[in-house]
């Protein structure tokens, strides 16, 4: 049995058939047939954002929190180009997102028509795959394939560009079949040929190591390999380092958890890397923010690199053993292959590197105190979505994550403006949990229009704004590396309490630590969205810091004595 359906109706059906429940989008001329069909498909909840960038970030947040594909929709031209930052963020952080864009009708393509943009060309390097649907007969299969490609292997964004006349084309509709992908190989290879051998070699290296480390990245969260990583650490006593995107993959406060490495990693974490003789890297790409100067990274270590993407093995750092595969599968095999051992002397050695922090803050309103108040108000049971900058590093270093995948941030792209819209998506993926979007005063102002989305759609996201009156991370770099010339980093903010009031949501301002518990507690308990502004120390810095391109062995641990001088 088949019935005559338009392309737009098929698009909606195909999304429903693929299990999609939420779509983030913004209507416009070239996507109007889709929006005309949408009300007939109540299974698809549409969230009307205030800017298409927010739709892409929200879909990304939804995908990261749910492990399912996040879907965003935009019209042609400016609608499509506004998605670009969000798609690039999803691409860098391997988040499964499907973007659907309207396009001008086929006879108009290539004629510089109104709101025509070559979004396929624009998004080629920031998507796993993209499709321009040339005929309605392809549409259902393209959607099914796009959903599969986004999740398959190393996840990532996929874009489907649908000309308006294809949305209006009618065809007899049958259930979509999974499209045969020509002779293309699946992205996930099965067990790679050297796998058993690699696991054996890795186990031997681990057995002979005196100063081993486990470094875990986003791959552990994507593969949900938490228990396996923990089993590996506990069977061997090897301490665990979590990269920015690996945070929450291993419980903070576990005796074997060291913290975050790299540019803003704690001194003892980076020292441990520099002294390690074996590093087991699971699901990370040894990004430059993790390694500093690769020539001096972990000079004594033999690296075992476990990654799903063979192209990552040896890309940034030389490896002794590369194992290609799913983090959970490989870690499980490794747990079985290693002998139980302990690393007490090595742990003692690392403890000797630990520095106590000695910064002071206006009104005692330290990042620790703010984050502790959020932890307490939410009883340690919330998802934190951060933006980009100083607050992001403070949260990464100081928030005591206990549950897996409760820390969501734009790591690879480092897109300011991510937190507020991504938190919308996280809430929709976890409607019964609390979500805090933490931003600086810079990033918050980039996408604060999404407060209207929260109000209109009833999304109770809690927003924290760290207000220091500066684009703080850039100001910090100016202080350290640009003669303290604060060029264009002082940033004015509106009165956030009045702004919150204008949106009809409660707002709180905290100036000193004594006010934290009440303001944060009330915001957390609000049934709807709420905003809390923290008036933090204006020129607080994130310490320690490895200068860009510098060695992990040489951190800046305090403000340069002659700041403003050479």
């Amino acid at each position: 049995m088949s019935e005559m359906l338009s392309g737009a109706e098929i698009l909606c059906r195909a999304l429903v058939d693929a299990g999609v429940e939420v779509v983030f989008g913004y209507p416009g001329g070239a996507i109007m047939p889709f929006y005309h069909a949408l009300p007939d498909h109540p299974q698809l909840r549409h969230i009307l954002v205030r800017h298409e960038q927010a739709a892409a970030h929200a879909a990304d947040g939804y995908a990261r929190a749910s492990g399912r594909v996040g879907v965003c929709v935009a019209t042609s031209g400016p609608g499509a180009t506004n998605l670009v930052t969000g798609l690039a963020a999803a691409h860098m952080d391997n988040s499964p997102v499907v973007a659907i864009t309207g396009q001008v009708s086929r006879p108009m393509i290539g004629r510089d028509a109104f709101q025509e943009t070559d979004i396929i060309g624009i998004t080629l390097p920031i998507t796993k795959q993209n499709y321009q649907v040339q005929d309605v007969s392809e549409l259902a299969e393209v959607v099914a394939e796009a959903m599969a490609v986004a999740l398959d292997g190393r996840p990532g964004p996929v874009l489907i560009d649908v000309p308006k006349d294809v949305q209006n084309q009618k065809i007899a509709y049958g259930a979509p079949r999974a499209r045969a992908r020509g002779q293309s190989r699946p992205l996930t290879p099965g067990a790679s040929p050297g796998l058993e051998d690699g696991v054996r070699k890795a186990a031997r290296l681990i057995a002979g190591a005196e100063r081993p480390l486990i470094m875990v990245g986003h791959g552990v969260i994507l593969a949900q390999a938490y228990n396996d990583v923990r089993a590996l650490a506990e069977k061997t006593g090897i301490p665990v380092i979590t990269t920015l995107l690996g945070i929450s993959a291993f419980p903070d406060g576990h005796p074997l958890h060291l913290g975050m490495p790299g540019m803003h990693g704690e001194v003892h974490v980076n020292r441990a890397i520099q002294h390690a003789d074996v590093i087991i890297g699971i699901g990370l790409r040894f990004d430059d923010r993790v390694t500093g100067n690769t020539a001096s990274f972990a000079p004594q270590a033999r690296i075992i690199h476990i990654d799903l993407d063979r192209a990552e093995i040896g890309k940034n750092v030389p490896v002794a053993v590369g194992i290609v595969g799913d983090a959970r599968d490989i870690t499980r095999r490794l747990v079985a292959a290693v002998e139980p051992r302990r690393c007490e002397r090595w742990l003692e050695h690392i403890r000797g590197f630990v520095r106590t922090r000695a910064e002071s803050y206006r009104g005692n309103l330290s990042p620790e105190a703010i984050l502790a108040s959020i932890y307490e108000a939410s009883h340690g049971d919330c998802t934190i979505v951060t933006d980009v900058g100083q607050h992001q590093m403070w949260v990464a270093k100081l928030y005591p994550y206990q549950r897996p995948n409760t820390h969501i941030t734009s790591g690879g792209l480092g897109a300011m403006g991510f937190a507020v819209p991504a938190a919308l998506g996280v809430h929709l993926a976890r409607p019964n949990g609390t979500v805090w979007a933490i931003s600086g005063d810079g990033g918050f102002q980039m996408n604060m229009a999404e407060m209207a989305t929260m109000v209109q759609e009833g999304l109770p996201v809690k927003m924290a704004v760290f207000n220091n009156g500066y684009l703080g991370m850039v100001r910090q770099w100016q202080q350290f590396f640009h003669e303290k010339r604060y060029s264009c980093t002082p940033i004015w903010s509106p009165d956030y309490l009045k702004l919150a009031e204008a949106y009809g949501i409660p707002g709180y301002r905290v100036k000193e630590a004594g006010e934290l518990a009440e303001a944060v507690g009330r915001a957390n308990a609000e049934p709807g969205p709420a905003l809390v502004e923290f008036m933090i120390e204006q020129e607080a810095n994130v310490f320690p810091m490895i200068p860009p391109g510098g060695s992990l062995s040489e951190p800046i641990e305090a403000e340069p004595a002659a700041a403003g001088g050479a």
Partner: protein, 94 residues
Amino acid sequence: MTGVPPASAHTVAVLLDDALVTLNRAFGVLRRRNVPIEGLALHPSGTAGEARLTFVLKADAVTTDRVAQQFQKMIGVRRVMVLANEDSPTEAKR
């Protein structure tokens, strides 16, 4: 500079779908990854719907393998072969 490529040159041949978007993506890999290429040629492979993209990489074997891996994971790429100077072609490792 004519004739024989330098000692550290490798020829890479990629068999891929001859769809414009796939070819565009393949050129994008070369451009985006900042790959030092010396020559680039595109021909029909002899199989319907398939093109052969050949280029000479001014790079050592490790870099060449890395580039091959970037193509290996691209959707629409069917086969990647690395030809080390006058050696016989070898299949890029999966």
